[in-house]
Symmetry: C2
Subunit: 225 residues, 2 copies
């Protein structure tokens, strides 16, 4: 988490205008870092991309590049969760889970399979050299995992999933599969791998769906686990 002493000026002490400027810097940095990597994004690049920002202004908000990177991770986590949470909060059936998969696959296609996961694609470059960034990435992934397990647990609470299903375990596997799928999509420039792995996870969750198989011989129901 970004604490006040990591940034030049604590975010909560900023005026509305200051917050808007800070936000513009972070958004520009996030876009550049996603596109070309963290190390290849200079303060000068960020300044140019944010428009009308002086170097001293950047240092006013962020004491060093690491604190800017932390703000970028927080920004990307919000972006991902604001896209994911509404979809995940509506998980109330296998069809909803499939709609979630389709929304992710469609988004990658719209982006021409460029960019990967805004959070996951930072792992390779940052995890082993910036312990604070790694911890912040891990905590963003944990929030995402929680949103998925809340969705799966809601399905279970409604009685759509058998109570023997472990929502936390399934959510962790789902997020992990999604991370692999997004990485492969970025590497391969197609969504086949993403679809394949999400389908495997969905089929696994379907094993616990109380309405599965669609036309069950009732005598088989106790044998399908």
């Amino acid at each position: 988490m970004v604490t006040s002493d990591e940034a030049g000026v604590p975010e909560r002490q900023l005026t509305a205008r200051g917050r808007a400027t800070r936000e513009r810097i972070v958004a520009a940095a996030a876009e550049l870092m996603a596109e070309r990597g963290v190390a290849s994004t200079t303060t000068q690049d960020v300044q140019k991309a944010a428009g009308g920002i002086s170097p001293s202004q950047i240092y006013h908000y962020f004491s060093d590049k690491k604190s800017l990177v932390q703000a970028v991770i927080a920004y990307q986590a919000e972006a991902v969760l604001s896209f994911q949470t509404p979809l995940l909060s509506k998980l109330d059936s296998m069809e909803a889970l499939e709609a979630w998969r389709d929304a992710i696959v469609d988004l990658q296609r719209e982006r021409a399979c460029v960019g990967g996961c805004p959070i996951g694609s930072l792992v390779g470059e940052l995890a082993d050299r910036d312990p604070l960034a790694r911890a912040q990435i891990a905590s963003s992934l944990a929030r995402w995992e929680k949103a998925i397990s809340d969705g799966i647990r809601a399905m279970q609470d409604r009685g759509d999933l058998d109570k023997r299903a472990d929502p936390d375990h399934l959510a962790l596997a789902t997020l992990t599969a999604l991370q692999g799928g997004l990485l492969m999509t970025q590497a391969r420039r197609d969504t086949t791998a993403l679809e394949a792995v999400l389908n495997v996870v969905i089929e696994r969750i379907r094993c616990y769906a109380t309405a599965w198989p669609p036309n069950p011989a009732e005598t088989l129901r106790s044998d399908r686990y």
Copy 2:
């Protein structure tokens, strides 16, 4: 693939001593790039890490950094496949698949969950800014996927997997799950996510195992797909 005109001097024209020097440069660069990222690895760093190499020697072997990056990807692909292929070529049962999973999980634990996948961890930084590197990463991943599908197909040819299983699809999902698992391991510094996702894939493959379930009521066998 690295072609002769991308490197300073084509590898096949080198003497044995030249090849050894080139190999030393590539090994040093691979280690540094895995640890700190591609952009943060300078020619000077590589020169120092390889020991007793002059800058002009690096340029003798690699005309620019991109050609060095390509040699690093090729080197990492060989390292991964030389570890993976013997394990994958022995896939002849669900137990062998579980042993493969265990070998991967153990390796990550031995490495203290640092480093991620030597190939996959380059995707975030390189895929969108170096088209040749992306293509080479994709082709390395395809070779790995092929090794997995050969293993699954061998199980099928031996009659251990039902012929309705699609080895190519299952292999793609398996490699994708593994990539996600390695990324999450690097981010979280534990192997729980890796184990969770590989178990989901293995359970999916087990659905096609002809000896599954272990104590089947014979009457259920035609209903379990």
